[in-house]
Symmetry: C2
Subunit: 219 residues, 2 copies
């Protein structure tokens, strides 16, 4: 990784055109050829950048970064105040815990938490308008489509409604019940869901993980 602090102006021409007036900034050149232009504030997102794969052509006071799609980042450099290179190697990567995917995994392992006697048909059940998070059968053999969210809001209810409408057109599946499962369900989402005959279930992430742990430690 090469770090350059320089007074520069930047022009991007690609999916849109953008211009950065002359000012001191950090230029971060990564090992994969990508480049980031950062200011000293407005964190997280660079002012301008080019994602890999791309090539950097350095001329006197003018760097031209080009990617496969022909997009260009042109950096005009007036003055360099710092320039250093560092060997970092490949990063071992981030381990995340507590996102929707994990919640879905836990519920897939314990469908009984959502409804007595529920059994899993499959996760990410495919439909023409996208996958249903969990498809189950209830104790009577009826189909149940379950939408899992970390935070239950109206968008999620709309999403499940679309799936249900489609699934209920399929005579092999219909009638399909809907369940909206989330750690927290906002009142408006709950009202809308129940108005549409969708059952709401709030799930406790730590409890789910606890049950999982208990089961594991029994053996």
């Amino acid at each position: 990784m090469r770090l350059v602090v320089a007074r520069c102006s930047v022009d991007y021409v690609g999916r849109l055109t953008a211009h950065l007036p002359l000012a001191p900034r950090l230029l971060m050149l990564k090992a994969d050829g990508s480049i980031l232009v950062h200011a000293d504030g407005g964190s997280y997102k660079p002012l301008n950048w080019m994602t890999p794969p791309c090539t950097i052509q350095e001329a006197e006071g003018r760097w031209t970064v080009t990617n496969k799609a022909g997009e260009q980042l042109i950096i005009t450099i007036e003055e360099i105040t710092h320039d250093s290179s560092h060997e970092l190697g490949v990063d071992p990567g981030l381990r995340k815990d507590g996102v929707e995917a994990h919640l879905q995994e836990l519920l897939a392992e314990q469908p009984g938490v959502i409804g007595d006697g529920y059994t899993l048909v499959r996760r990410e059940f495919p439909t023409a308008i996208g996958p249903v998070d969990l498809m189950c059968r209830d104790s009577g053999g009826g189909s149940v489509a379950i939408e899992v969210k970390r935070r239950g809001e109206i968008d999620g209810v709309e999403q499940l409604t679309r799936y249900l409408e489609l699934l209920n057109r399929d005579p092999l599946l219909a009638p399909v019940q809907g369940v909206f499962a989330a750690q927290v369900i906002k009142p408006q989402a709950r009202v809308l869901a129940e108005d549409r005959g969708i059952r709401c279930v709030t799930v406790d992430y730590d409890a789910l993980r606890g049950v999982e742990k208990d089961e594991l430690t029994l053996f």
Copy 2:
């Protein structure tokens, strides 16, 4: 801005929990107190970060970053290989051109691209639940509500559906046709739109701009 290259491990506890094993990385500390942890690859997104406002407490080999919501980023430092500070000042900011607003402008100037004989009634046509991007009349004098998106996805179809439902209750306007216009329309969004009687139009941004240029250069 302070730049530190260090062998470190990072733990985030907040909206989720995340862990980064020990490895060399760049730590970028910005003037507003925010901090970014970058590896030598990936795109512009940091491996881990904390957005301002937040406070950094530096102890021996252990930096603790805390924000208002109580989320924490704990950086355990084994070895520092670089440490430099730089005065950058406030950035003058980015000028952009070519986003959705611009696409809407171009279509407003050339409604014929969306449908033969279409004429513009007005942009940002107001309704009780928000403005319709473009309201036009077709060659027969009928009303057409147009939703403009850079990328046409299901959300956009839902939005237009809500507008149409409302507009069609107004006896002075009804019947109102719906058109979903975007540079790219995803198949699922297209299926949903056409199922609801909404016509889909894909528009070529460069061609629109080209036509505009040609018209200008004719005079």
